[in-house]
Symmetry: C2
Subunit: 207 residues, 2 copies
């Protein structure tokens, strides 16, 4: 894998999980080989784009025979570092937090919730799925002790920035943010903003 | 606005909601003018990229003075067609559906839930926020009668494809899909997949 030697644009990295998802789905259908053309039809990017994106990381396809699905899937898991499972802290035990705690799509794709936190005294100490909801006061220490580097923010917008600051103090390096607000964090901390409205607006253009 | 005369790549359209979100935030802070440089720092795209994206739709910035926020915001709302409010059908009244029904970020940005559906007899007829949950049997007719063109799927993966088929039959033209599965719909129907794991994986690359 040559990817550590070369700067890969963030936009390319952002597409790799979509390639991986498509490959996993093809593998589940019993398929062994695919092509940039087929991936293009599934994902809506041009096949030239897909070949170019993957070429940053090596030679995966052969002219005329396409991509070996299992091999490319394994390579993408390694590149994205999801060949092992990352533990996550979930902050927010409301409706969204409950949906995330019950979401069964994390583990097979490299993630596991390791602790859940909430500020609401009525929620603290109660069970959410397999987890006992912990008070916010324990967040920094728990995250540090368990060496958790990923967190999900599922709290109201008004509380999100304070939560983000505490997560960063605890050593969190990447945040999946469901709160409808932009977080201010140090440059070394990654944030991915789940914004349903941005998704909707990218479709209304076409209607 | 010249946008109807020119093909704009989908990837550019996908960035417009992020520009709009950043502009709205700047406006809320009382700002009147911004620059591609400032938007670049907020969003992580290069300023050249931002200028190029916006140039598809006209001349918004002036060399040296930057973009007039209110004007550009209004233009982007028109381009994305969110200068009026779209009604949406929400399918799924579970934890995620409840979180979405209580989400207060839709209306200011162009969207409003108009009806909620679920297949669970225990949920049908109960209130979720301001809405009475309707049975799936009423989906097609309600969507057609109310001329709803947008829908959110917040049901388990196993039910999502069937729901999508019914939505399409009812005349839905764009779907925000929270179910962890790829939907098969006619080419004219847009789908935006909310995939938290893809977001997480695009960050673990850097850790």
């Amino acid at each position: 894998m040559s990817h550590s030697n070369r700067h890969v644009p963030a936009i390319v990295i952002g597409r790799l999980p979509l390639y991986l998802r498509a490959l996993t789905q093809l593998a589940a259908e019993g398929r062994r080989v695919t092509s940039s053309q087929e991936l293009s039809e599934k994902l809506g990017f041009s096949s030239a784009q897909i070949r170019k994106d993957l070429s940053y990381f090596g030679e995966f396809g052969k002219q005329g025979t396409g991509y070996e699905i299992e091999y490319l899937e394994r390579a993408l898991r390694e590149i994205l570092q999801v060949h092992h499972v990352w533990e996550m802290a979930l902050v927010g035990g409301g409706d969204l937090g409950r949906a995330l705690a019950n979401y069964n799509g994390f583990e097979a794709r490299g993630f596991r919730i390791a602790a859940i936190f909430d500020a609401d005294p009525q929620k603290i100490g109660t069970m959410l799925g397999a987890w006992k909801i912990q008070p916010m006061q324990e967040l920094r220490e728990t995250v540090r002790e368990k060496k958790i580097h990923l967190a999900i923010i599922a709290v109201p917008a008004t509380a999100a920035q304070q939560v983000a600051a505490e997560l960063v103090e605890g050593g969190i390096r990447a945040i999946l943010n469901y709160a409808p607000t932009t977080l201010s964090v140090p440059p070394k901390v990654k944030v991915f903003h789940i914004d349903p409205v941005a998704g909707l607006q990218s479709m209304t253009y076409y209607l």
